[in-house]
Symmetry: C2
Subunit: 557 residues, 2 copies
């Protein structure tokens, strides 16, 4: 069986202008980055303003397990399948982060015959968007310390600078630093630290901005410090937003590439799915909707996190409403939710499947509670048995009245997901209802957390630790009480304990800390330990990554 990278390298790619032309993008609206990648011009996007929108399909998943679910693979396969059945479909997904590539082996561009290409460039520097975001973030950091250094006219309290630094690399040594050491010329010593670029609020803002003007305005709202008398200081106060917007100008144009079947995929932005909302840029999604009959997009992690934020944050801010939701599951992952460990997945196990089904069931119920039509996409693995697939379909039909469709896009490309595509079209052509958000913006911040925890997570309640409660009160006092909340908790469980797989009930969501992302427009609610700067493993992938004799990249995938 060929590997993902072998399949990708064997593909004959079309010139990107040909792919773009399929959805009506003229060649002069493209800024090429090599022959198979382009950015779509701001001016052209503006010119699409009055066109009616296509239909939006959200791909989400059960709670992730080490068995793998294949959400991106399904997104790509479904997009190809929709094109095969005569719909003009555009795929919108996140850009992968560079740093983690050097830790664990693996990229993030789908798999098998459901991939976006050219995968090596997509997984490495791509069009430099993350570099631009790192630069803009770093400029803001330099301007803040420079302000303090010269006269500190804003009276910034160096003990209360919230703006950390970022680098797109897994580097635990930078998590906590003391900086401005070495004497008078280097500034006022203070504590600081680095996160990985995808955790930057610039990334979240980038992905929620509707255009350059909105980007600059949102950047200006970011609270970067408190004054000595505890007033919030913003990026606008330190005059950073104009230059940051200049640095982000080209990056904000969505990137277009192609699937292995030559269909257009917009890959743009990639915010963390825990401390941010975890989906591709609003600009890419909205551009896709103007260009295609259908846009297939995905949200990060499981539906409890990614899809909830997609709806309560991204859809609420933009007015977008999905016409259908696909929840991706695998037999293997459901068996793990049923208590089987990864080494024992081989062989049929209907009992474990039935037990693990509870995880899928809760995600289906949750998605329906938003008022959205749902279909389950069962991503087929060759080790699965027919009886297992039949059982899952039966469970879905009988217990949930939802259709479950086995998909073989990994092995067969778009042809393997045609049945799913037909089901999606049927759902999407039904009547569209307004969204039921989990909470209203007028509610207290703590009540928003409680609503998510009790309605979606199966929790009996929420325990907000005193430090977090004080900060929430402060945010409300400072006028940020009407923001939505962005939950940062483990993706492996509905609870805050990654070991509680399946569909745990009556657990309590402990809120350890909260953070304000005033530019992105949400309050981050941190439950448990959230890592914003990963480390490298003992034997990092970087050790064996190299160019082979042909100049091809070896060891990256």
């Amino acid at each position: 069986m060929p590997s993902d990278i072998e399949i990708a390298r064997a593909a004959t790619l079309k010139p990107i202008a040909e792919v773009a032309a399929k959805v009506g993008i003229p060649e002069d609206a493209l800024q090429n980055y090599g022959k198979h990648i382009a950015k779509i011009d701001h001016g052209f996007i503006k010119s699409l303003g009055d066109k009616p929108n296509g239909k939006l399909v959200l791909v989400t998943a059960i709670s992730p397990t080490p068995a793998g679910e294949g959400k991106t693979t399904t997104t790509v396969g479904l997009g190809d399948a929709l094109n095969r059945i005569g719909k003009k479909a555009v795929i919108c997904i996140r850009e992968p982060s560079l740093g983690p590539c050097f830790g664990m082996k693996g990229g993030a561009a789908g798999g098998g015959k459901a991939q976006v290409v050219p995968m090596e460039q997509i997984n490495l520097h791509f069009t430099g968007d993350f570099h631009a975001i790192t630069s803009a973030h770093s400029l803001a950091a330099a301007l803040i310390d420079n302000h303090v250094y010269w006269a500190n006219e804003l009276n910034i309290d160096v003990r209360r600078i919230h703006w950390r630094r970022v680098v797109d690399m897994n580097d635990r040594a930078l998590r906590a630093i003391n900086q401005s050491l070495g004497g008078v010329a280097n500034g006022f010593p203070r504590e600081d630290g680095f996160d990985i670029t995808v955790a930057s609020e610039v990334m979240a803002v980038f992905c929620l901005a509707k255009d350059l003007a909105d980007l600059e305005e949102r950047l200006g709202k970011i609270v970067i410090a408190d004054t000595r008398d505890r007033k919030p200081v913003t990026l606008k106060d330190v005059k950073a937003t104009g230059a940051m917007t200049v640095l982000l100008k080209d990056a904000l144009q969505p990137n277009i590439v192609q699937t292995l079947e030559g269909n257009p995929a917009l890959i743009h932005g990639g915010p963390f799915a825990n401390i941010a909302h975890g989906c591709n840029s609003v600009i890419a999604t909205q551009t896709g909707l103007k260009l295609g009959d259908y846009v297939v997009t995905e949200a990060g992690f499981g539906a409890d996190l990614g899809a909830e934020k997609f709806i309560d944050i991204k859809c609420r801010q933009t007015g977008l409403i999905p016409s259908a939701v696909v929840i991706v599951a695998t037999i293997r992952a459901l068996k793990m939710h049923g208590g089987v460990n990864k080494k024992e997945l081989a062989g049929e196990n209907i009992e474990a499947l039935e037990k693990g089904f509870a995880n899928l069931a809760r995600h289906v119920t949750n998605m329906r509670s938003f008022g959205l039509p749902v279909v389950v996409g069962v991503n087929h693995f060759f080790q699965d048995t027919d009886a297992e697939h039949a059982k899952l379909k039966e469970l879905c039909r009988e217990k949930l009245d939802v259709e479950a469709i086995t998909c073989k896009h990994w092995a067969d490309g778009g042809a393997g997901a045609e049945e799913l595509a037909n089901a999606v079209v049927k759902l999407a052509e039904g009547e569209q209802k307004p969204l039921n958000f989990v909470y209203e913006l007028e509610a207290k911040l703590s009540d928003k957390v409680k609503a998510i925890a009790t309605k979606l997570y199966g929790a009996s309640g929420v325990n907000i630790e005193s430090k977090a409660a004080t900060k929430l009160a402060g945010f409300e006092k400072d006028g940020y009480g009407n923001l939505p909340v962005c939950m940062a908790k483990t993706q492996y469980s509905f609870s805050t304990d990654p070991a509680l797989i399946g569909a745990p009930s009556d657990h309590v969501i402990a809120v350890r800390d909260v953070r304000l992302s005033a530019g992105a427009g949400f309050v981050v609610v941190i439950c448990g330990e959230i890592m914003t700067m990963p480390g490298l493993p003992k034997v990092p992938a970087a050790d064996t990554i190299r160019l082979d004799e042909k100049g091809q990249i070896d060891g990256l995938f």
Copy 2:
């Protein structure tokens, strides 16, 4: 009078494929970055292997003053002029650094009618080369600390890690840090600091490598730390070089843009001119020589630093020999070397010019001592008087037997530098002699410094401080004694005192520190304070940089 940016924006740019075709680059050898920037494919460059080389013209200058000399402007103007007189000429210059753009106003792409375009992209992210270098450098940093974290099998002494970190931003707060704080999971606390990206040894290696294999080999030689028993540890030892080469693969392809007159310019790499050798990549220069009859290139700072390193380091490593050297001077700058301060430059001052001529004279003599034919290019400013220009020509002819040619490329483009172009062709068509290096590689490291100081700087001797002397002895013991030296001293004076303008004699060069750049292949000799991480000024340019209503960048230039 229109500004540089107004002139650049008013220009009608040719498609880059058309510019590239002028020197025989086929369209399929280009990787486009938008419509006016491309990278030239590694494969195409390899295919040029057997073609004969064109002639190399080195543009250097008198010691810089606040009056400005216009070295890049002259390089561009001369390139255009050579094309006008029927020579196929290619320009090779350095890429500008992003960070400093936000400090002091101004870009680095020539000026007036002698510019390379598109100047905004060139001055901002361009093709992401510096981002790739930053990434590769950061990956190495992460791998080093990761090695120490897990088991430290190489027995790295955390007090003796020489590999600092880099960011492409002016940020004084990062000059000196303590890192790996915050507990066991974050590693072993140690001192560290950040330089600006152009100061990275990766940048120097990038600019001296002849191809990807050479790049990887040179990276492997970089000494990043000592062991507890004082043995050097290299990047190869921490298995960083394969992945770093992968990150640098696309970046190592030279970038092609155009002058305002539509002639090809290769802009590639940009190492510091103090702690590194300060000129564009060897790959760009060698590619240009295969493509053009002439390559016009420049070296950093004045001829005492940039040209000396160009010859003793770059030419020695590659076998390149310039066919002619242009020393750029201005009447204004020479008057400053004659003791006039910047505010008093207006008005004719023959006496100051005669006095300041000493600076030019020494540079001319120095360049000739390498066995190179020299012409002086006098970059015309509209405030200059005819009498001043006539006097300078007379001084050059009578005292040095060298031709001085007034150039008006800033006002008139290539047409303003045709006389210089004709003079350069005459020199370049003369007999080519082998280079006289200032020192032989077999000499002791301290004797190499002494040779440069006494033969070129007019110094009476060298004073190597004890710490530096100990390190030099260590380098010789470790087998690095045969490397050339790379002088890091003020660019404003032949001496180490920036206030000693003109042509000071009998001063002593004090060597404060030395550093090994084993991958680049030189020993850096630090005389005086050398800043490898600039700070931002009190009112940084960033404060007023923004997008205007038309989406154009305001305040950057």
